[in-house]
Symmetry: C2
Subunit: 151 residues, 2 copies
Amino acid sequence: MTEHPSAALTSALSFQIGVLGATVTDLFATRIAPLGLKPKHAGLLALLAREGARSQAEAAETMGVAPSLLVRLADQLQDLGAITRERDPGDRRRQELALTAEGTALLESCDQVAERIDATLTSDLGPAEVAALRHALSVMTGFGPSSQRGE
Amino acid sequence: MTEHPSAALTSALSFQIGVLGATVTDLFATRIAPLGLKPKHAGLLALLAREGARSQAEAAETMGVAPSLLVRLADQLQDLGAITRERDPGDRRRQELALTAEGTALLESCDQVAERIDATLTSDLGPAEVAALRHALSVMTGFGPSSQRGE
DNA sequence: CGTAAATGATTCAAGGTGTGAATTACTTGG
DNA sequence: CCAAGTAATTCACACCTTGAATCATTTACG
């Protein structure tokens, strides 16, 4: 019997993850705002760092956003000097995005912000509990469609 | 030494929770759309079910949204017949929101949707792992400001 | 070959969501 | 009884994101 008569929605995992995710992302956004970045910018930087230079279409696909949005994000990152945009010599339709030193530094800063948030987030959890959470997240992140959104 | 040179942001808990939360909330939104509801509507219904009739200002505070937005949400729920809005006799500035039978039914539907999402989300986790996740979430949800957003 | 379909990037207009300021109604404290 | 504070509401505005249209380039194929 897994039926809860009025399980109150609030106790659903998906609801809690949604709420917590929104809160955490808001906090992350305000903390990186001084850098001139928003969460999706950070997501794109992280994507480039993980998988190297990619075409914009591929990046949009993996981030789950419209290609037209990725153009703007790339524009803004380029204005910040965080990425370079070069035509692929082999296929001149493609723009290859690559991190600059500046971009790597910005990503580092975002990383530090995220880790500080992690610290407060898990301050009431033991190491084993954090490990269990990390494991569950890593499993769940690889579900549904191929998703890697910029938060 | 808790320093990870290029810990890649992607591995930060806050980042993963943010990304997963956005994905899950999107999915939830599309599934409850046929009911005429959006995640925040569901959040408000759940709040009323948990804590009973409240003034709009209190509801806005706990949900972390502007009072002006709560007016709209309440308007729309009222149009659906999901809630009633009555002036508090003791303080005629206040509007008391209360669930109707229709609203309770809608909340039930949202709950079922969320639980179905939970099922797919945790399909690759064992019962103990799910319990650990649930525990970690319940601890973390009670952090930072008093937050109970509508996803 | 060389033309048609497909793919990538880009721009633009439009929709939806949320906020802050201004307004009105009501309550409360001096 | 008046002033300040609080609740609800409306409204205009800003922001994010998308889809459609456009242009450049590549690829498939007749």
